[in-house]
Amino acid sequence: MSTPLIILIVVAIILILMYNSLVAKKNQVDNIFATIDTQLKKRYDLIPNLVASVSKYMEHEKSILEDITKLRSQANKPNLSQKEKIELDSKVSNALGSIMIAVENYPDLKANENVMHLQHSLNEVEDQIAAARRAYNQAVTDYNNALEMIPTNFMANAMGYLPKDLFVIPENQRKNINVRELFNQ
């Protein structure tokens, strides 16, 4: 075989490997996002139940309950982009967090078995979503790195790949609930 031919084959193999690794990284991101999506749905399904069981008691927090119902109907719209879903998720997380804190103010609610069960289910889903978010962020970081690093950046450019957004891990999940804040509400 002539030298130019060998060089050509080697270059072709390198290009194929680069192409495939980029596609694999993009698909990994999409796969994990699909899991997040199903878990978010699971959580959205719990919301009407929660609203129904707490609304009788919560007079002062009506506005949060309305907000979260609105957010849920927004999330149920078809054809949302990944970015929109990510934004909705963080808003819902915040609203749910404030409902959970508000529940603490109503001893009747806290003791209600239905609410307790809902709280535990929500915590469980929340744990799974948190794990999926971390997996998504890692996959996106790998993908974005490939988009910016030499030599895959040239290939990514040619393929028209764009960098993706990371999930913002909600602040209220990182810190513990401040007891004093609970009393000030």
């Binding site: 990994q28 994990i32 899991t35 069960h117 535990h120 289910s121 915590n123 469980e124 744990d127 799974q128 948190a130 794990a131 999926a132 971390r134 997996a135 962020n137 890692q138 996959a139 790998d142």
Partner: protein, 319 residues
């Protein structure tokens, strides 16, 4: 659970009469072992001197192996009874003091099937041994552990057998409080330490005997451990930021290589001491603080897993 200092108190106060009794036995046995050992050595040296000129190197080597085996036989002949006494009178009460729901069997070890199920070591053992089997429940969470020694047989082209050590140390099994289906394995990170981040990471990602590499979002944890799993998300569902922190501090207390896996609702932990734990030392006093601390700390570490990793905080779905 009792603290280490409470256990040290128990060791030196409650067990003191027994310790002294055993200490007297130990001194007698030590003398006997030394006397018989010297006589034995003199004897074999004489034989060796008489015949070494007629022997080839191969047979001389075999002779040396026999001498060592004889030494070991003499040692265990004298020490075995003492060792049983020591375990029944010192280790058993110590375990009972930590938690009286635990059963202790000095001669048994954890089931080999559990060792294989853990997938911590890719080689399957051909020969296993072990002792000091402890099992029972702590805060209603089942836990079992024991000393475990697993070996693999190699046969070379000349049909010579040799045994390779797969693992020696403490093997702990308990229940994990979350539901999961995937297999997640956490191993000591050697590649990243030796080759640095870039090459180390590449080597780990291309380890064909393991599942997918999972990069964790805790840099300290990433430095100590490497995680493989069949499910990227579930691995993170199990290894929450909090559990990673706890495993790191556990690792710091253990001070030996730590292997962990999460399979079939269970957590498996292997601590590689490369030593048989909970055995009496003949040439050192039982009253020595360091010796006592060794027994107490190791027991505390193994039994403390449930509390330390909060395995007793069950989720709603698992109750």
């Amino acid at each position: 659970m009792k603290s280490i200092s409470q256990l040290t108190d128990f060791y030196y106060k409650e067990l003191y009469p027994t310790l002294q009794e055993l200490e007297n036995d130990r001194k007698k046995i030590k003398k006997r072992v030394i006397y018989v050992g010297i006589i034995y050595l003199l004897f074999v040296t004489l034989i060796g001197l008489a015949i070494y000129k007629q022997l080839s190197l191969d047979i001389l080597f075999l002779f040396a192996v026999f001498i060592l085996a004889g030494m070991k036989f003499i040692y265990s002949y004298f020490v075995d009874e003492y060792s049983v006494d020591f375990k029944n009178k010192i280790i058993a009460p110590l375990i009972n003091e930590i938690d009286n729901n635990l059963d202790y069997s000095p001669h048994l070890h954890i089931p080999t099937a559990e060792f294989n199920r853990s997938k911590l070591f890719s080689d399957r053992p051909d020969r296993v041994s072990g002792n000091d089997y402890v099992h029972g429940k702590i805060d209603d969470i089942p836990i079992l552990f024991s000393d475990f020694y697993a070996e693999k047989k190699h046969t070379n082209s000349r049909n010579k057998e040799s045994w390779e050590k797969i693992f020696q140390g403490l093997f702990i099994i308990s229940e994990f409080p979350k539901n999961f289906h995937a297999q997640t394995i956490v191993l000591p990170d050697s590649a990243q330490k030796f080759f640095g981040n870039l090459i180390g990471n590449w080597l780990q990602a291309n380890n064909f005997s393991r599942d997918e590499l999972v990069k964790m979002d805790n840099s300290e944890f990433e430095k100590e451990f490497v995680v493989y799993s069949t499910d990227q998300i579930e691995a993170r569902y199990i290894l929450t930021p909090r559990l990673m922190q706890k495993l790191l501090s556990y690792k710091k207390r253990v001070k030996h290589p730590l292997y962990i896996s999460f399979i079939g609702g269970k957590i498996y932990m292997a601590i590689e001491y490369n030593n048989d734990m909970f055995e009496p030392a003949i040439f050192r006093s039982l009253l020595e603080y360091k010796i006592a601390m060794d027994y107490i700390q190791t027991l505390h570490l193994a039994i403390g897993v449930v509390e330390e990793l909060k395995l007793n905080q069950k989720l709603w779905s698992k109750i």
